[in-house]
Amino acid sequence: MSFKRFVVLAVSLVFGAILTTAAFGASIDFWIYEPAGPAGEAALEQLKADFEALSTGNTVNIIPIPKGDFNTKLNIAIAVGEAPDASYLDQPLVAEFAEDGLLDPVPEGRIDESIFYQGALNTNRVGGVLYGLPLTQTCTAIYYNKDLVSDPPETWDELIQVAKEVYDPDKQIAAFGFSWGHYGGGWGAWLWHSFVAASGGQLLDEENQVVSFTEQPVIDALQLWVDLLAYSPFEVIESENSFQTGHVAMMISGPWEIEGLRESWPELNWGVALIPRKAEADFGTNIGGDNGVVYAASENKGLAWAWLKFLTLAESNLVLSRDVMGNFPINLTVAKGEWIGGDEALAAFMEQMKYAQARPRVKGWLKINDEILGAALSEALGGEKTPAEALNDAAEKVNQLLGW
């Protein structure tokens, strides 16, 4: 018996119960981001074929949509009453869609919650109810240039120490950079969240409705970036691909860099390390990734859930996250598996993922992230305000906005 047939058999056993509820001969539309490259496309086709082989007579229409325009299309389709049966959904949107009554909650007893990375699963939880399933996940860690940094820093003190040592204005070598060169704004704020998590802090205490920007760990996290900038001149870190060209010793970014680094910059000697933590704190990072949801208006919810659940099963989730999307699986059994092989970079990210902290799930967070937190970062990093001042002002605004 070939491995594939074994998988199909195993999956079909798991499936027996699910399929009885799904209508025979039904079809669903599933909206997804475009797969990463030709191999990803073939892998997605295979997933669809495998599922349809199990769920005889039913079809899944996979509709690929450019990632950058996905939310635009999705919201317009909903506005004119043309929503799909199921789709990918950005993590921060699950709460908003659920509150609008658009999503079908995960049916009771349909899934085994223990197979998931809890950080990823919790991005779907709104008011204690699950409104979707995580499909893939990602986070940020530190890339470092092994020729410049022999021993990656583990704590913030070591980080500053290393930064001092590698900084070289004559050779135009900066200590610390940001992927895409942006240090402020919404993107910078998302990256910076990793350092807040590694500082032992959090941005909001949603349960008690407290904005935690003014707490010491958060201020320290911003102070750290300000300190790092002293060893990281803007004209170096703003240069395109400055890490790749060897001008930046350490860079915060996600696993999406790996393929490019290996393919386009084979000369570069690099490694991945966990985000350094504050001495007294545990490791931490942010989380990103894709969730799958089923729309309340769908006429084939049973089939839609069966499909989403299929995508979270060990084998198919590995194919979906690694081959189709270039992300990380959310299924614990796969995550522990040998698929990583001896790949140190992937192993480092897999390790980092354990310390992921979900972003705040309050309504309008994206706007707060871009317009208030991002602005506070720009002000502090640009030297207009001290980190404490910038964050105090930001906290005040967020309090007024959220009415806390």
């Binding site: 539309d29 981001y33 475009e34 797969p35 990463a36 490259g37 030709p38 990803g40 496309e41 509709i63 690929p64 949509i65 450019p66 990632k67 950058g68 325009d69 635009t72 299309k73 317009i76 389709a77 506005a79 004119v80 009453g81 043309e82 691909n241 790749q244 060209t245 999406w256 393929e259 490019g260 393919e263 386009s264 910059w265 084979p266 000369e267 999307m325 270039g326 992300n327």
Partner: protein
């Protein structure tokens, strides 16, 4: 006489030098696009963009058609190209005719409320398209055009911008020609087709070029109107070529280069008309 020709020689030399320098500035991104489309993945990113595909390891100059092969045989790309051709092939002539007809009336045929109506039309250009998007999709759906190629044609069949451009050009045409034709008993439609349109070749060429490019490249409208992958147009197929996470410029550029070919052809055909100055007779100044 000798001094005069020396002057002309100097003049052309300076002119051509200036034109050439500007041309290099203008053309280089296009050249980079083509050259990137001929590169292997690993050779795309360099600190300074290279104008030729150079192998990073050996330093040799090379060219590969692999990216084109991948882009062309990729499922859906050929269909997308075909869909785009159909849409542009129908919408551009249709639009040209309707816009010219309207533009002519707004320029030349008086009727009550004409100029006010024109200003009202013009004012619709001043609202950012994003705000109009959802109601437009809704109308398109009500008309039964959602998720069909006609949905890419009918809602795009007129452009106020072009009406305005054409009107401005019709305003420059001498009235005497029409008046003479009218005395001969020609109808307005005949005047329009037999006199006005032939005289307006330069501007009609401009409108053809620009509206072809616009429809050929438009991403947002097909994105929100089309759900069925077999009806995707080229910009959609292109956007799908590279994932948001793994950036592959060599594939994007190969796709973009293919998408550019029809635009270049249209431009090369019609640009000739832009400079064919027409000699008018009976013009009063």
């Amino acid at each position: 006489m000798a001094r005069l020709s020396k002057y002309w020689l100097c003049r052309s030399l300076v002119l051509y030098m200036a034109l050439l320098i500007i041309a290099i500035l203008m053309v280089s991104p296009f050249v980079w696009m083509i050259s990137t489309s001929l590169k292997n993945g690993p050779d795309v990113f360099t600190p300074i963009p290279t104008l030729f595909p150079i192998n990073k390891k050996t330093g040799d100059i090379y060219a590969t058609l692999e990216n084109y092969r991948y882009v062309l045989i990729k499922k859906g790309f050929a269909i997308a190209f075909f869909n785009s051709l159909i849409v542009a092939g129908i919408v551009v002539p249709l639009k040209l005719f309707l816009d010219a007809l309207g533009g002519y009336a707004f320029a030349r045929i008086p009727f009550p409320g004409r100029d006010k109506l024109f200003l009202l039309l013009l004012s619709s250009m001043m609202i950012p398209g994003i705000a109009l998007l959802i109601p437009r999709v809704y109308v398109t759906k009500v008309l039964g055009l959602y998720d069909s190629l006609w949905g890419l044609i009918i809602p795009m069949s007129v452009s106020v911008f072009d009406v305005f451009l054409l009107r401005q050009f019709f305003l420059t045409l001498p009235r005497e020609l029409e008046e003479a034709a009218m005395i001969d008993g020609a109808s307005r439609l005949r005047i329009f087709i037999q006199i006005i349109l032939p005289l307006s070749r330069p501007v009609l060429a401009v409108v053809t070029i620009t509206s072809f490019i616009w429809h050929w490249n438009d991403l947002i409208w097909p994105l929100v109107i089309i759900n069925t992958p077999s009806r995707y147009t080229l910009p959609l197929a292109l956007a799908l070529l590279t994932s948001g996470q793994s950036h592959k410029p060599h594939l994007t550029m190969a796709g973009a280069a293919i998408a550019t070919i029809p635009i270049l052809i249209v431009f090369l055909i019609f640009q000739k008309r832009i400079l064919k100055g027409i000699t008018l007779t009976g013009l009063k100044m």
